[in-house]
Every structure is written in C-alpha cells, then in structure tokens.
C-alpha cells in the first residue's frame, strides 16, 4: 500500500520534527501535533515556513515539528524582534512562532505589543500554562490571582490577558483555544496561517508538572470544565467547494473570507458572535476576564490592515536573493555623491 501524500506530494511524516523532550502529557506536545496536522492538511511545503521561538519549554517545541523548515530559537522574550527582521529576507515565506506565557507576557511584553502594531505577517502562538515550565514552576504573568504553587506561595497579581492585550495592541487576528480541544486548535492554526497579518493564538496548554491542579485555571481539569466555545469553527481552503459534513440553515453560520480566498466558517452556538466587530471583541473579553469564562474560538479578525511588508513597499522578489549589482550603486554614482557633500 502506498503511503498517503497530500497535494504537496508529502507524507505526514515529512511534517514531523525530532522526538519531543518535553514532559509526557504536556499541552505543548498536543499543539505541536496540531501544527503538523494543519500544515499537512494545508498542503504547505515545509521549506516555505520559518519557525521562531523564545526560551522556555514552549519555545523548545519548534524542534518537534516541521523538521524541513528553518528555525530560530532566540532569546527569552525576544522572538518578535528576531522574527520581524528575519521576515524581511523573503516575503514569500510564512513565519510561525511559538512562545510561552512567560516569554510573551512577562519579559516579552514590550516586543509582543510592538510587533502587533507593525502587523507582521506572522502566526504567533502562545502556549499558555500560567507558569514558567523550564525554570521549574514560578508564576508567569498570566497566572491567575490567588493561584498557589508549591515553592512560590500565592500569586498576588492580576493576570495578563493575552487576547485583550493583542486586541488593544492592534493585532489583526486573535483567537483563544485549549490544547485539549485539538480540532479547534487545528482549524484556528489553519486560519491563522492563511491570514495576512499578525495572528495571535492564545492556547491554554497545561503544564502537567507544575500547574495542573484541577482548580488551577490553566489545568486540563479546569479548562475541560470551563471551555465555552464562541462557535464551532471550520477552515475551508481557497477554491474548494464548501463541503461541510452538515448542512446549515441560513443564519446559522458566519463566514469570514481571508486574503487568499480561504474561508472561516463559524457555526453559531449559544450566541451570535461577530469576530469582525472590534467593540464586540472588547466586550466579550472584558466579560470573560471578569467572570473567569474560558471562551475559545476566533475572537477578532480584520482582513484589511496593511502588513509590515506592504508598509515598507517591499517587492515580492525575495530581498535575500538580490545580487551585488542590485545592492551596490553603480561606480559612476560615487562622483555625484561626493558632489552632494560640500
């Protein structure tokens, strides 16, 4: 029997990475699997993706998927700047970054916020476990007030809400999900990859070693019990007939068309949530924050914001392939330049 390949002619194995060295059961591992699945199903050529991360358990995970993609494991909290610079090299590449809650919301807050303002064309995944995994269990900035950890006592500070920060900071695609909801994670990753601009995915990803008590808000137990999806989400690739398993009544779904012609289909659940309405997004996040709701799904999307490459008026031709004659002004210009001096 022939191994199954996707439209890019690749087997799923060709999307894998090295074996994970994270703890068994770590949420980060599930997310890696969904990145692999999403890339495979999107028929992406791995060479067209570049991976980034900061420092942390989460930031190790780019080693565990897409072995055939370039990767840059940078400094703690500084993934955004490295990615921003790197993405100028070849605008035909897609950037995908994995960070942690400490990496993004503690040391990395400044760079995170400023990357959003620039609308770098980039998928920014926060594997959010409310704790510093790699340094063994200190509070991160997303830890809920009142959380108790073994060697740290009780967290006295109010938590950073990554999605609210992203929204106020000007991100053009914002979603929240939970590592224990693989289907939603996968569909959101697909949509994020297709989105043109910065896509922030705040994924609750439990740390089974240091922060998985059932009453902890980043634990499997709590998240399973409290997850409240805004909608049922499906991603439809461009130019594909909409073939969903079920038929919908009119008004039962919302559709968001992305730049490449793909579509996000949002099937209504309890409420009729419109993720293109910034004010609605502000409000739902505020309510969720106050009431400790774990709302998941696509919170906000704006398909019109110019990306950093557009702002800088870059050509499609990769800058990193320009030859010396395109980069160095011709010899005869030097006279003119000297004359421009005095």
């Amino acid at each position: 029997m022939a191994t199954q390949v996707n439209l890019a002619g690749l087997t799923k194995a060709e999307y894998r990475g090295h074996p994970s060295t994270l703890c068994q059961g770590c949420g980060h591992n599930s997310i890696s699997s969904q990145i692999i699945a999403a890339a495979y199903e999107l028929n992406i050529v791995p060479e067209n993706v570049v991976k980034f991360s900061g420092i942390g358990c989460s930031s190790k995970s780019p080693t565990y998927f897409l072995n055939r993609s370039y990767g840059f494991n940078g400094l703690h909290g500084r993934m955004p700047s490295i990615a921003t610079g790197a993405m100028f090299g070849d605008v035909t590449l897609k950037g995908l970054g994995v960070s942690g809650d400490g990496d993004t919301a503690s040391i990395g807050m400044g760079q995170f916020k400023h990357m959003l303002r620039r609308n770098l064309d980039f998928v920014y995944i926060v594997e959010n476990n409310g704790v510093y995994g790699l340094t063994k269990g200190q509070f991160s900035a997303t830890a809920e007030r009142g959380l108790e950890l073994k060697y740290q006592g009780t967290n006295p500070y109010s938590p950073v809400d990554i999605c609210a920060e992203a929204l106020i900071g000007g991100a053009s695609f914002i979603a929240r999900s939970f590592a224990g909801d693989p289907k939603q994670v996968k569909e959101l990753i697909k949509a994020a990859i297709s989105h043109k601009g910065v896509a922030v995915l705040d994924i609750i990803s439990p740390c089974v070693t240091f922060n998985n008590d059932d009453h902890a808000m980043h634990s499997y137990g709590w998240a399973k019990d409290h997850e409240a999806p805004l909608h049922d989400i499906s991603y439809i690739p461009p130019r594909e007939e909409i073939m969903l398993e079920e038929e919908f009544e009119p008004g039962e779904v919302r559709e968001v068309e992305l730049h490449d012609g793909s579509q996000i289909i949002l099937k209504k659940l309890e409420r009729d949530y419109d993720p293109t309405d910034r004010e609605a997004a502000v409000q739902i996040l505020e309510q969720a924050y106050r009431n400790h709701w774990l709302i998941t799904g696509l919170i906000y999307v704006n398909t019109d914001q110019p990306t950093l490459a557009e702002i800088h008026n870059l050509p499609d031709e990769p800058l990193n392939r320009l030859t010396a004659d395109r980069l160095r002004p011709a010899a005869d210009t030097i006279k003119m330049v000297n004359e421009m001096m005095f």
């Binding site: 370039y70 921003t84 610079g85 790197a86 050509p315 800058l319 990193n320 160095r328």
Partner: protein, 613 residues
C-alpha cells in the same frame, strides 16, 4: 572678488603684523536659535576659499535656550584638532556673555550683539559691538525666522572684518538650502547688509585675516554619520534598524535620506531596503540579527546606552554566528553620561561584549572618508566571518563637519561569505553541516531561509549544538565548537583593516598609538614635540581589533609607546596589554576624558611630562 576691504588696509589699521589663516573663531549662541545654519555657512565658505578648517559644535542636552558654542579653527598648516584658544569670539547670548568675554585670547577680537547690555571689563582685546536687531530688520521675514536672520548678521560682519569671500558664502548658503532661491537671497541680503554696515562703521583693529589658499581641493566637507550612512549604502545595506539616540540618530536619518536617492528600484518603484525605527535597542538589534540570519545585509546604529541593552543579543549573534553590523557612535558614559559630549569610552566594553567567553571584531574609523569605507567593508567582514561586526565612531566624528578625502568607490567586489543556495546543495547532494569547519579557517558554510532545497534548513540557537546544528549538551562537542569559533577570530585578525603606520624616524624609540577621531590632535602634537622640543616620534593608528601583527611589530620597535585616547581609564592601553602581555611594559597610557575633543596641547604636555620623568 567681493571682499569689501583689501587686506593691506587692515594690517595698517591694526598696527600689528597680520595673522593669516591661523586662528579660531568661536560663536556663542542659545541652543535652538538657528545658529547651526550660520556657523556651517561660515565653515563652508572658508573651506571653499581653500583654507583648511574644522568646526566643532559644543551643544547642551537641550532643545532650546541653553548656551551653545561653535568653534571654527582655520589652520593654514591643515591642523584639524580642537584648540583651546579662541582668538575671535562672537557673543550672541546674554547667558554666556561673561564666559564668552573671558574666553577671548589676549589680543583677540570680541564681536557681540549690542543689545546685550553687560559690562565689558577687559582692555586686552578688541571689541566690536554689532547692532544685530537693527541689521536683522533689513530683511522682512516671519517672526519664527527672525533668529536665523539675526545669526546671519555676524556672518556678514565677520565676512567684512576677516575678509571672507561673499561669493563663497553664497555657495555655502546655496548648498545649505539645496539651491532654493528664496531663503538663499533672504540670508544673503542680511549678510551683505551686515558686511556693508561693518565696512562703514567698524574699524579693523585686530590682526586676524583670512586669505584664499588652495589647500582644500581634493577634499570634501561632511560629517561622519552621513559618511557612514552612505558607506553602508555602497555596502548594499538592506535593513537598518535603530532607536533614536544622540549622537547616533543622524546616521539612521541619513540612510532615510540617501537610500531612496541611491537605491530605488527603477522598474518596480519598490524598496529593496528597509529602515525601521524599533521600539528600543533590544528590538533594534533583534531585528537586525533576524535579518542578518535571513541573508540580508543588516545593521543597527546606536550609542553607549543602546550597546548596553544589546549585550545579550550580541552574545547570541556571536554564538549563532550571524552577520550583523553594529555602529556605536559613542558619547560620554557611564550610564546616561553627557549625551551631547564626545568620548571613546565604550571601547573595552565592545571588546568584551556579552556574558561568557566572547570575541569582537571592532572597526575604528578616524575620519568621514573612513566612515564611508568601513560603512561598506563592515558588511563584507560580517558576512565573511559570520560574525557581528562593531564599528565605533563618536560624537565628534559623527556629528561635526570634517574636511576629508572624497569617498572612494569600493575597490573590492562584495564578499557575501560562504553561502550555499539550492544549486550548491544540489551539487553537494544535500551533504552539508552548518557548523562544520570544512576549509580549516574556522568559518562554516551557511544556508539562508528561503533556500527551498529539502536539506537546506537548519535550526539556529545560541545553546550547545554540534556541527549539524543539532542540540547537544555534550561537553566535548561544546569545547570543540567554542575553540573553532575562537580560532575564527584569530584568523580574522589578518583580514581586518591594517593600522596606518608612519615611521618618521627609523631610529626613534618613541611610538605614539591612537585610534579614531583623536588622530588630528596626535598628528599636531607630534609636530609640536618635534618642532618645539626636538622629540621624535613614530605613529600608529589602529583601525581594527583584534589587532594584527603590524601592531605588535610597531610596539616591539619602540621602547616607549604612548597610547593616546579619549577616555578615563586608558581602554586601548588595557586591550593592548591583554593582547600583548609580553610587551605590556612598553605601553604607556595617555588618556583623559572631559567630553571635549582632544587637543594637541593636552597630548603634547602629557607625553612631555612622561618623557621628563
């Protein structure tokens, strides 16, 4: 020829021997009052008269109101260093009037705005009041430009009294206003009217005059930051990231100005470059490193506080072997320091930048022409050695106007270093390893994101890795990798810009070593040591670190090597001691820092004092 009075008449009037083309003019104004225009106009006019000149701006960390001074030195011998004497002083600012008056060299001339009603308690100088307000009224400008015109008054008065060619002033103004007729005419009117007033009302009593020469042909006049920026453009810069900081800001701003002129894509109108103002220096260098990693010629420019913030990232670029160029236009540290004063105080920090064991490649330009040269060369070195390259300029060099040799078109093709693209990997059948020393020079091969060959990609990290860029904590691999990197820097020594060495006297046992913007002071001090004290010296200007064999040889050749520098602790002296411990006793530190450019006198006196010991 439009100088109003012939020089014969002047010398008669003054009753003293004329002093021609060898004195300093200092103008005291208030910051933000637009005197920059009139001062550089004066400077440029003198330059166009063929007289060697240099201009030093002494300005406060303030936007408007505090005292500012500009000193123009004219030197028929071609000396460009700062002098401590002020033969001609122009006082436009009541707040610094007393100080300005005190500063005039005995026998010198003091021009002042006569609306300043303060006592003049000296009789050893010539005093010229100027009715600045009245003269400024001859041109009709909106009030916000009034100050600018007022400053043109002293240009006109000095032109008359010192015999500056008005045509040259016109040329300078045309340059300044990019040929726009209206401002040129307005300003010229003020200059002419003021000169006329002076001719009619002032009697020349001082001996200072300017005469045309031809000692500036073959030179241009520019500042180091402009030169660095244009040099980077000839180096093919593709991305420049920065965060505003004095005195580095204008380097990035000049990139913004010249890149569209020199590098727009004629066909698409698209930009093949990006200049990006980051949110801080941590981000600026992070972006530059990311870009260097992805194969772009990438740079960032900053000053001391920014370098401090870049320390961790520097270490990453070092360890991951990523080409990136970092300009440090130094100012006075430590900490926030004096942001508008010059210093060479970041040197040793650059040399040991980053925690753990690191190495640095540092280029040390001395003048704008060299800023241009190192502007492009730094990229070649960074890509060749797969390393961050630091270039240390300073406020004096970066922000002041310097008479300098013209920029020379790069004499070498671009060196993009060891990069493998798809076809190379095809040939190698995909067999390559990111950190393998194939050629024995310590430099491995790299591929660049976007290379679509299925074996091209690798994973970059600062942490332990083996030749195949795979993560490892194996202690032997670690040591092997670190030793290779160190060897790479040992090899780099030989390819960096060599020192400039001047052996004036084969038998002389005294060497003087300098680097960067202090060169003019040392050149002049050497002449003085020889002329006034009969002390010979040879000279070496270090242009890069780590240093090459020529440096060792120079030191070996001299019993006493004075290492002259503009910092408190003698940092180059410390570095040379570390590089050549066996020669340490031949090195003598001559260093100080007060924020002002070095003078020949200070250098001479301190070397003399040591020699007399």
């Amino acid at each position: 020829m439009s100088t109003v009075l012939p020089s014969e008449k002047v010398s008669k009037l003054s009753g003293r021997e004329p002093i021609v083309n060898d004195f300093s003019i200092t103008v005291g104004t208030a910051n933000g009052s637009g005197s920059q225009t009139s001062n550089t106009t004066l400077l440029r006019a003198l330059f166009k008269m063929g007289i060697p000149v240099s201009g030093k701006n002494l300005f406060p960390s303030n936007i408007q109101g505090l005292p500012t001074w500009y000193t123009i030195r004219v030197s028929k011998e071609g000396y460009l260093a700062r002098r401590e004497e002020h033969e001609i002083v122009v006082a436009m600012n009541p707040d610094s009037f007393a100080q300005d008056l005190k500063d005039v060299t005995p026998g010198g001339a003091f021009f002042y705005d006569d609306s300043i009603r303060l006592a003049i308690n000296r009789d050893d100088i010539i005093v010229y009041p100027m009715p600045v307000k009245e003269l400024a009224r001859v041109v009709d400008v909106p009030s916000r430009l009034r100050n600018y015109i007022a400053n043109m008054v002293y240009v006109g008065v000095l032109a008359q009294m010192l015999q500056i060619d008005l045509d040259k002033i016109q040329q300078a103004l045309e340059f300044h206003f990019d040929g726009r007729e209206k401002p040129v005419n307005l300003n010229m009117t003020a200059v002419r009217e003021s000169a006329k007033w002076a001719a009619e009302n002032l009697e020349k009593q001082d001996p200072y005059i300017l005469e045309p020469m031809d000692k500036t042909s073959g030179f241009i006049m520019t500042d180091g930051n402009t030169a660095s920026a244009i040099g980077a453009i000839y180096g093919g810069v593709q991305i420049a990231t920065w965060y505003p900081i004095t005195p580095a800001t204008s380097l990035a701003e000049k990139l913004n100005e010249y890149l569209p002129k020199l590098r727009k894509d004629p066909e698409t109108g698209k930009h093949t470059f990006a200049v990006l103002q980051a949110e801080d220096e941590l981000a600026a260098i992070g972006m530059a490193i990311g870009a260097g990693w992805s194969g772009l010629r990438s740079m960032t420019s900053t000053s001391g506080p920014g370098i401090s913030l870049m320390t961790e990232f520097y270490g990453l670029a070092y360890a991951a072997e990523i080409p990136v160029v970092i300009w440090d236009v130094t100012r006075v540290g430590p900490s926030t320091g004096l942001p508008t004063r010059t210093s060479q105080g970041d040197l040793i920090m650059l040399y040991f930048l980053g925690h753990g064991d690191t190495n640095s490649i540092i280029l040390l330009p001395s003048n704008p022409q060299e800023c241009f040269e190192f502007g492009w060369k730094a990229f070649d070195l960074a890509e060749h050695w797969q390393s961050p390259v630091l270039v240390m300029s300073d406020l004096d060099l970066g922000m002041n106007q310097w008479m300098t040799r013209p920029f020379e078109y790069p004499d070498q093709p671009m060196d993009r270093g060891k990069v493998l693209w798809e076809e190379d990997l095809e040939e190698l059948k995909g067999e390559w390893a990111r950190y393998l020393d194939v050629d024995g020079d310590g430099i491995p091969y790299r591929t660049i994101p976007g290379n679509r060959h299925p074996h091209a990609a690798y994973f970059t990290r600062g942490t332990g890795k083996n030749e195949y860029a795979r993560y490892t904590e194996d202690n032997e691999v670690w040591e092997r990798m670190q030793d290779r990197v160190k060897m790479k820097y040992q090899n780099a020594r030989k390819t960096l810009p060599k020192p400039v060495i001047e052996i004036s006297d084969e038998n002389c046992s005294l060497g003087i070593i300098a680097f960067g913007s202090t060169e003019p002071a040392v050149v002049e001090a050497r002449d003085q040591l020889l002329d006034r004290h009969g002390i010979c010296s040879n000279f070496m200007r270090i242009r890069s670190l780590p240093s090459s064999d020529e440096v060792r040889e120079f030191i070996e050749r001299h019993e006493r090597n004075y290492v002259v520098e503009l910092n408190r602790d003698g940092q180059m002296h410390q570095i040379l001691t570390v590089e050549y411990p066996e020669l340490a006793t031949r090195l003598i530190s001559v260093a100080h820092l007060d924020g002002l450019p070095l003078t020949a006198r200070w250098v001479r006196e301190h070397i003399l004092a040591e020699e007399e010991k």
